[in-house]
């Protein structure tokens, strides 16, 4: 559906996108992931024919963005980072205006407006001025605007930025529900978002393509060994002793004691890494129990997208950790991470 080959966009002073190639198949949701300034928005602007590429080619639904921009524009719905709204219009009027711009025949227009308004849950504000809408509603009106002409391809630039957690969940659900009918590219710098919505992820950093794969593949590709977090209590359990015991188990490559997490009631906590391809959890549990200690907790620490991201982009650790901190505060609500089972993956990056 989308085919990008050697795409380059050069500005007067710097190269924003440097020879990116990727393909997106019909009906996929693809996450476009990268730190701020990586070239996500520029790539999207080339795909929507807003900017011409300096080099390479981009093809949407079989049409080249340079040769046949009108055909491409007809098939693309685009939601820029700030929704392109006119505050002095009512929602219904705005959708009517966009519908006409996108060339929907006026006979079908009213029905189509009702349809997208319902789909994006903005039907109840149809007669309200856009200036009076909350940020979440504006984002949804922006989405309604993008899908009004039923485009083959949807391009969403940071669709959840600046929303509150409840609105983020709603917007994500809405995007997921659109997946069947449209091919979707969405950009984000919020990693859990990609894990939740996207089937595939394209990672770019400093204008270059770093990785493109399915989310599951990326995770397993980078996880050769197993990492397990263990918490032990009990009489006679001292850090050095337990550590020694764990290190003696076959298949364990490294045991580290995490002082910072020890509780006051004699709780000891360790991170155990296995050798490549070894499953060590049963042995760990048995060894601890047989030593007469209590096994309080034992769980596998998945490699989160944050870590993959770190590994691939080679960004300084500090950056990603602070980026992660903002991720937590702006996007992943406490409620959300508590509700999801793999809450640990979300937090792992912060703890390390």
């Amino acid at each position: 559906m989308i085919k990008v080959e050697g795409l380059t966009k050069r500005y007067a002073r710097h190269v924003a996108v440097d020879g990116i190639s990727f393909e997106v198949e019909k009906g996929q949701i693809v996450g476009f992931l990268g730190p701020n300034g990586a070239g996500k928005t520029t790539t999207m602007r080339v795909l929507t024919c807003f900017l011409p590429p300096t080099g390479g080619s981009a093809n949407v639904a079989g049409f080249d963005v340079v040769e046949q921009p009108m055909e491409v524009k007809r098939r693309i719905g685009y939601l820029p980072e700030t929704p392109p709204l006119y505050p002095d219009m009512e929602v219904g009027e705005y959708l009517d205006f966009v519908g006409r711009l996108k060339g929907i025949p006026s006979a079908n227009l009213a029905a189509r407006i009702d349809e997208v308004a319902e789909r994006c849950a903005v039907g109840d504000v149809k007669n309200k001025l856009i200036a009076k809408l909350s940020k979440g509603y504006r984002q949804r009106v922006g989405l309604a605007q993008a899908i009004i002409h039923n485009p083959d391809v949807l391009i969403l630039d940071e669709p959840t930025s600046g929303l509150d957690p409840q609105q983020i969940i709603e917007t994500r659900d809405l995007i997921k529900s659109l997946a069947g009918d449209h091919t979707i590219i969405l950009s984000t710098h919020i990693l859990p978002e990609v894990e939740q919505i996207c089937e595939r992820v394209i990672i770019i950093a400093r204008g270059k393509l770093v990785a493109t794969d399915s989310v599951a593949n990326l995770t397993s590709r980078l996880r050769g060994s197993e990492t397990v977090s263990v918490e032990v209590t009990g009489a006679g359990a001292d850090a050095a002793g337990v550590q020694k015991k764990l290190e003696a188990i076959a298949g364990v490559s490294r045991v580290s004691h995490k002082d910072g997490r020890d509780g006051h009631d004699g709780l000891l906590s360790f991170i155990v890494e296995s050798q490549e391809g070894q499953h060590i959890r049963p042995q760990l549990a048995r060894a601890i129990v047989e030593s007469g200690w209590n096994l309080n907790e034992l769980h596998a620490v998945g490699l989160s997208l944050e870590e993959i991201f770190l590994e691939l982009t080679g960004a300084p650790k500090q950056d990603v950790i602070s980026a992660h901190a903002t991720t937590i505060s702006t996007s992943v609500s406490e409620a959300e991470s508590a509700a999801s089972d793999d809450a640990t993956t979300g937090h792992a990056g912060g703890e390390k």
Binding site: T48, P80, P84, Y86, M89
Partner: protein, 255 residues
């Protein structure tokens, strides 16, 4: 064509939803009304005086009231036109809605024409207000209609030319105020050029007076439609809109 109408309708709506349209029209009505009143009072006094002195030659309403009024209207236009055009593209660029327009399957020309025609419509509506004063003249006298028609045609052409220049200036910045001030400066320059027409003996004086937008309006206000003046205004409109198109295009590769 239908895309042009879509843009035109949206622009007009937005004019009449903000205070701009009302402010501009109210100011225009007030100031032209004042000029009209002063002109008529002066005319009445002068004609009473001349009849008391026994001069048999009647004075012409066209020459003494309408022509100066049209001249004044053309100068007022210079000051109000930047206010009409300043937001056209600057506002879209600031709020990011330009991305919506440019990524929609419509031609740049439709966007530009829609916006310019909307500005022209507002300007024409503004001129329409001054017709109210003109109409009252018909109740008390017999002014000649033809010079008035020529005069209003000239005002439309003059306005169209300045509006196209203002539209162009509005594509250059994200800031409405900057667009307004720059547009105003350009209009002011064009007005000042007109003063050069008094030194018409030198070559540079001739060139400057040819470039002056007001100079070309003179014959219209006399009731003469000269093809040279019409061509001057039409080419000014064309140049303004052409520059707008170029500027809109360059925005993409400069970004």
């Amino acid at each position: 064509m239908s895309n042009t109408i879509t843009i035109w309708r949206k622009e007009l709506q937005s004019y009449f939803r903000s205070p701009i349209a009302y402010g501009v029209m109210a100011f225009f009505a007030l100031i032209t009304g004042y000029f009209f009143y002063v002109g008529v009072v002066y005319f009445v006094r002068a004609s009473v005086q001349s009849s008391m002195m026994g001069q048999s030659q009647p004075m012409s309403v066209n020459e003494s009231v309408i022509r100066p009024l049209l001249g004044n209207v053309s100068v007022i236009g210079l000051f109000l036109i930047p206010m009409i055009t300043m937001r056209l593209f600057a506002e879209e660029k600031r709020s990011g809605t330009i991305e919506l327009l440019v990524t929609s399957p419509i031609k740049d020309l439709a966007i530009i024409m829609g916006k310019w025609l909307a500005a022209l419509t507002l300007y024409a509506a503004m001129l329409g207000l001054s017709l109210i004063s003109m109409v009252t003249l018909f109740f008390y006298g017999k002014p000649d209609v033809r010079p008035m028609v020529a005069g209003y045609l000239g005002l439309l052409l003059l306005g169209g030319a300045l509006l196209s220049i203002g539209t162009f200036i509005s594509t250059l910045t994200k800031n409405q105020i900057v667009a307004g001030v720059a547009g105003f400066s350009v209009c002011l320059m064009l007005w000042v050029l007109d003063w050069m027409s008094s030194f018409q003996d030198s070559v540079s004086g001739k060139i400057l007076s040819y470039l002056s937008v007001l100079q070309h309006f003179d014959s219209f206000s006399k009731g003469v439609i000269d093809s040279r003046d019409v061509i001057y205004y039409l080419s000014a409109i064309f140049i303004g809109l052409f520059l707008t198109a170029r500027s809109l295009e360059s925005m993409r590769w400069r970004a």
